[in-house]
Amino acid sequence: MDLARIVELNAVYARVIDTEQFEEWPKLFHDPCLYKLTTADNVAKGLESGLIYADTRGMLEDRISSLRKVNIYESQRYRHIVGLPVVLGEQDGEAETETPFLIVRIMREGQMDVFATGCYRDKIKPDTSGALRFSQRIVVCDGRRFDTLVAIPF
């Protein structure tokens, strides 16, 4: 799989979140899929839970409609800094990749703090149109402390 296309997928992913085009976010996944937000500690101990756990595109869409219409939180946005992916393997047209990330959270009052760092453990393959999409994105955060609340996906 062309590394440049994987990089581009990651860049688009970061951009749709950081520019608050959240409705575009689920479209970057296959259906069914697996998106999970967890910690390195849970992964190391074989603990399966996620802060966010979605195994269909519908569940990802529900995250977005909930954050748009339902949940209450102080206005905030993210700036993703996404590193370069490593392709760990490729099988049946699906690449397994790992990409480091850093998320700065910008709060309503203007504070900019590192909110999370970690790596994305992904499985990526093209959809019927040929566009690369995630069949799996496990967000493995380096730490386990999530300040105040996590409204927007990582």
């Binding site: 399966e48 839970s49 802060l51 569940m59 219409k69 105040t148 996590v150």
Partner: protein, 421 residues
């Protein structure tokens, strides 16, 4: 009504459970007093799950208020708890989340060692060092009585797989401390061996009591949290109520999954924001795919044990939450998600999905992460003002409605007794 009191801070304004002064969330000396009188006083503090330390030598570290502790299972299978502070220079004896030790803990600083009961057993070079002339030099004085030194020991007790500890010799047995009604609601959920599914920590920008009050506040749940209301996970118009222990400190609120009958239109009639019925629908409702697990139609139960333990059952989503103070204006909320050891793969997947409801990113609980901070910031210039906690009257007994703040008043009843306010 906003009543202003002229008294200086740390004087309780009036003898009513329905009025609480804002300085309790702000005052440093009051925080120190809480550490001494509540956490180090006659209270049972959650320290770990039995499932965390199944084998001899297994230990976990935790905090009882500001007091760092080690909880360890000894050779006899007994669970001991002692202060995580070396008797020598005060360093942490264990500086990880947990693990396994053979027979002793050894402080890394000067290699003083402790047995699994927290007794000081070994002092490096206690007799000194043999010099070239054959004379022993250095070492501890001859009269040093090792057994008089050691970290403080806490009594432990277990209940349904939960481990609690107390520093005070006066704390009542755990069953009595919790009270029969609330105790029954713990046993209802923790009825067989559990398995931990994941852990997360949520630092909150507020005093620890604001979160504990939030947990006990049955009035807010369906008003703040749209998700609860819209999907009828918990509405005040559904069956349910709140149990408050006789001493006030412990509570269990519950929602019964039965139709609302005559009250079905009450949220609509009051134009309450959280009732989004018909306006908000899930694309994939499998997140709410639940099964009756406990045989009593209670679909939501939130339970607290004074001062900082919470047990949660929302459908099949189970968790314990531990409130750890981090100074006057900060706290950690430690989430441990769990299921049962005998869960089928289907039940495991159901729990994984339902865990979306809670935690720092929870569809339901997200708002609780910020609302305490709103109070903390909103009251910054109001330390001598009071909050009004009067829904359902001014007393703190069990009520068959959740349109009440009875269990919040219960917290203050227990708090004031322990704090001697």
């Amino acid at each position: 009504m906003d009543v202003r009191y002229e008294e200086t801070t740390t004087v309780w304004p009036e003898d009513s459970l329905a009025r609480v002064p804002y300085w309790v969330y702000q005052d440093e000396p009051n925080y120190k007093r809480e550490m001494e009188r509540l956490f180090e006083g006659a209270t049972w503090n959650f320290v770990c799950l039995e499932a965390d330390i199944p084998n001899k030598g297994d230990y976990r570290t935790n905090q009882v208020g500001d007091l760092p502790v080690i909880v360890v299972r000894d050779a006899d299978g007994k669970i001991n708890c002692f202060e995580n502070r070396c008797a020598h220079r005060g360093a942490l004896i264990a500086f990880d989340d947990g693990g396994n030790v053979q027979n002793n803990f050894k402080c890394v600083y000067h290699a003083w060692s402790y047995d699994l009961c927290g007794n000081l057993r070994g002092i490096a070079f206690e007799r000194g060092i043999n010099g070239p002339d054959g004379k022993m030099r250095g070492g501890m004085p001859r009269g040093f009585e090792r057994e008089r030194f050691g970290p403080r020991k806490l009594r432990t007790t277990t209940l349904c797989g939960l481990v609690f500890a107390t520093l005070s010799p006066d704390t009542a047995p755990i069953e009595e401390y919790i009270g029969a009604e609330v105790l029954g609601r713990i046993k209802r959920v923790l009825n067989r061996p559990i398995r931990v599914m994941g852990r997360f920590v949520q630092p909150l920008p507020n005093n620890w009591k604001l979160y504990v009050e939030n947990v006990k506040d049955t009035y807010h749940a369906s008003l703040l949290h749209t998700f609860l209301t819209t999907f009828r996970i918990s509405r005040l118009t559904q069956g349910g109520g709140v149990l408050v222990s006789p001493d006030g400190g412990n509570h269990s609120s519950y929602t019964i999954g039965i139709p609302e009958g005559a009250n079905a239109g009450a949220y609509k009639a009051q134009d309450i924001r959280t009732d989004q019925d018909g306006k908000f629908a899930l694309a994939d409702p499998s997140v709410l795919d639940s099964v009756e697990e406990f045989g009593d139609h209670i679909q939501l139960q939130i339970l607290s044990v004074f001062p900082g333990f919470i047990l949660q059952q929302i459908h099949n989503c189970l968790a314990v939450r531990h409130v750890v103070p981090r100074g006057v204006g900060r706290m950690d909320l430690v989430w441990t998600y769990f299921g049962f050891a005998d869960d089928t793969p289907e039940m495991n997947r159901r729990r994984l999905k339902q865990q979306n409801l809670v935690g720092p990113a929870g569809f339901i609980s997200m708002e609780d992460g910020c609302v305490g901070g709103f109070v903390q910031r909103g009251t910054l210039a109001a330390s001598d003002h009071v909050s009004v906690i009067q829904m359902g009257g001014s007393t703190a007994e069990s009520q068959e409605t959740r349109a009440t703040e009875a269990s919040v008043r219960g917290f203050w009843k227990a708090y004031r007794r322990h704090m001697d306010y």
